[in-house]
């Protein structure tokens, strides 16, 4: 039960507006942690602080520490951090001018891998891990955007995995997808935690209940409660958590 990633009193601002306050949260290795909460509670902001993406927005600011293997990522080079902590976004965003193959190989090429055999191997591996290989193996040269929505999102997952991250952050990855595509990706998330540490932001409580080991509930920029998924949903400690879970708001 090692702590792979942890937020320590993390606060973040968009200009003068404070989005999240004093969040301290541990993310267990080889496990899936879900972050739930109503719209605007700051869950996306939090995970964007974890891979140092938040600071790329003009006038954005972060305070506090984020520890990856007990070392503060804000003291490290952001480029290295982002390679170790990968991200999948809400709406699939494959590079439109690249083929399926090139999309997956993008991170590899950035890091100087040129050997065609090696690229082929890792591309295949990543697409298999994303459960997309069988569907695209004959169409690797086609543009990444020619795939369906669900396939594009799995392509983005493969692209992120090809960089061999240690942590995978997923920001509402299924919100733009139909139920069938969603189910495929949820199965995928279940398998991914064997090799990676997964953090998933979702506004869908049932999804959290299905895939996550630990769940954290946020509201208006604060962390309200965190615990084992089953306990959180069956015996929440905070009244606010119970109200959200029973659907009284959000």
């Amino acid at each position: 039960m090692t702590r792979k990633l942890a937020a320590e009193k993390v606060s973040a601002w968009y200009g003068p507006k404070k989005a999240i306050e004093d969040i301290s949260l541990d993310f267990e290795e080889h496990a899936t942690t879900a972050i739930i909460g109503p719209s605007g509670c700051g869950k996306s902001t939090l995970i964007r602080c974890l891979n140092r993406l938040h600071e790329t927005v003009p006038k954005a600011r972060v305070e506090g520490k984020v520890l990856l293997d007990d070392k503060d990522v804000y003291a490290d080079d952001p480029v290295t951090v982002r390679r170790r902590v990968g991200m999948v976004f809400q709406k699939a965003n494959p590079f439109p001018t690249m083929s399926v193959y090139d999309n997956v190989a993008a991170a590899l090429r950035l890091n100087g891998v040129r050997n065609r055999g090696k690229l082929d191997k890792i591309v295949k591996q990543s697409l298999e891990q994303a459960a997309l290989w069988d569907e695209v193996k004959d169409y690797l040269g086609k543009p990444g955007v020619s795939l369906s929505g669900g396939q594009q999102q799995r392509l983005c997952i493969a692209r992120a995995l090809a960089a061999e991250p240690e942590v995978l952050l997923m920001d509402e990855p299924c919100s733009a997808l139909d139920p069938i595509a969603t189910a495929k990706i949820e199965d995928l998330i279940f398998d991914l935690k064997t090799d990676y540490t997964v953090v998933i932001v979702t506004h869908n409580m049932q999804q959290a209940a299905r895939v996550a080991d630990t769940t954290a509930f946020m509201y208006l920029g604060h962390l309200i409660e965190v615990g084992g998924t089953r306990e959180l949903f069956e015996r929440p400690r905070e009244a606010l958590t119970e109200s959200y879970i029973t659907g009284r708001f959000g």
Binding site: N51, L53, T56, P58, K59, V79, T80, R82, R83, R84, G86, M87, F89, K91, N93, P94, F95, P96, T97, M98, A106, A107, L110, N111, C156, R159, A160, A163
Partner: protein, 324 residues
């Protein structure tokens, strides 16, 4: 919100007279004005064609290939000017486009927000300088500079290339190319900047989240995404260089012949027209030839502009809220 009504308007508005006639008349009137623009364009082409007819009858399409321009013997050909125009435009693009892209990347991707707007204004100032002032400056500042420092250096280091051989004239093709490069920078950088700004943020984030450096994310996510818009910007720059007249006329040396050396004087389509048209005798073959040159200039500039705008429109229109 205050209604922008003037005093007395209320009465006038609420007691309309012959309203449906008024509407029809107004629509017809403004429609005619709009249509008039199309008519104007067609008229330009037609009038030029009529005046170019004697030349076309005399030389046919061979006009475009002939290298002779001899008013005494009434022999005219467009080749030297097509050569001059194409070569100066090419030099302008080779020198100007990379600088413009650099500026666009800096303004769109790298500069802090506070610098962006003033910097944009300053680059636009370059566009506000009239062509003839560029020519004036070119004649008195750029020409001595290039003749004293640049041309001899080029001939010294790269003199084995035929383009850098031969006598160095002060007003020549190279200088014209350089001044054109400076003049297209505002256009190309502004339109490229718009293309880069139109790339959605999630593309940059996708690249950054893979562990790309800033430059790498610009390279793989922004530049390739915006490439059709950038290509349109380059075409617009080409169109501008193609038709530029005064600055070129003042520094190109005005010689109606083709020479391989870039240090030799030359002539472009627009500069020959500027130089010779007013001296032309009405109805003469020379004038007809000059007008025919103008027709060629117009048609090619039209083609380039149409193509360029289609590219830019298509790219910006695809992005949300894209307006030229």
């Amino acid at each position: 919100m205050v209604f922008p009504f003037r005093r007395g308007t209320r009465r006038a508005l609420l007691h309309p007279t012959g309203s449906s006639w008024g509407d029809l008349l107004f629509q017809a009137g403004s429609g005619a004005a709009g249509f008039a623009i199309l008519v104007l364009l067609a008229l330009i082409a037609i009038v030029l064609a009529i005046n170019a007819l004697p030349s076309f009858r005399a030389f046919g399409f061979g006009f475009l290939g002939s290298t002779v321009w001899d008013p005494v013997r009434d022999q005219f050909g467009a080749s030297p000017f097509i050569y001059g125009t194409l070569l100066t435009s090419a030099i302008a693009l080779v020198l100007g486009v990379p600088v413009s892209l650099g500026i666009a990347i800096f303004v769109a991707e790298l500069s802090p927000g506070s610098i962006r707007i003033p910097l944009t204004y300053v680059v636009e100032l370059l566009a506000a300088v009239p062509s003839v002032v560029y020519g004036l400056w070119g004649l008195f500042v750029l020409v001595p500079l290039i003749t004293t420092y640049v041309s001899p250096t080029l001939q010294g280091t790269l003199g084995f290339l035929p383009i850098f051989q031969g006598q160095i004239y002060d007003r020549n093709l190279l200088t014209a190319g350089v001044i054109l490069a400076i003049m297209i920078i505002p256009t190309v950088s502004a339109v490229s900047r718009d293309a880069l700004l139109a790339v959605p943020q999630h593309q940059r984030e996708a690249a950054l989240s893979l562990g790309a450096t800033r430059w790498e994310s610009i390279r793989i996510a922004v530049l390739s995404y915006a490439r059709s818009g950038i290509f349109g910007a380059v075409m617009l720059g080409f169109g501008r260089a193609f038709g530029e007249t005064m600055a070129v006329t003042m520094v190109i040396g005005n010689r109606n012949a083709i020479s391989v050396s870039w240090f030799a004087p030359a002539q472009t389509l627009s500069s020959i027209i500027a130089n010779s048209a007013r001296e032309g005798v009405a109805g003469s073959l020379e004038l007809g030839a000059i007008v025919e040159l103008g027709l060629v200039l117009m048609l090619v500039a039209l083609l380039i502009n149409v193509f360029a705008r289609l590219m830019v429109w298509r790219f910006l229109g695809k992005q949300e809220g894209g307006l030229e």
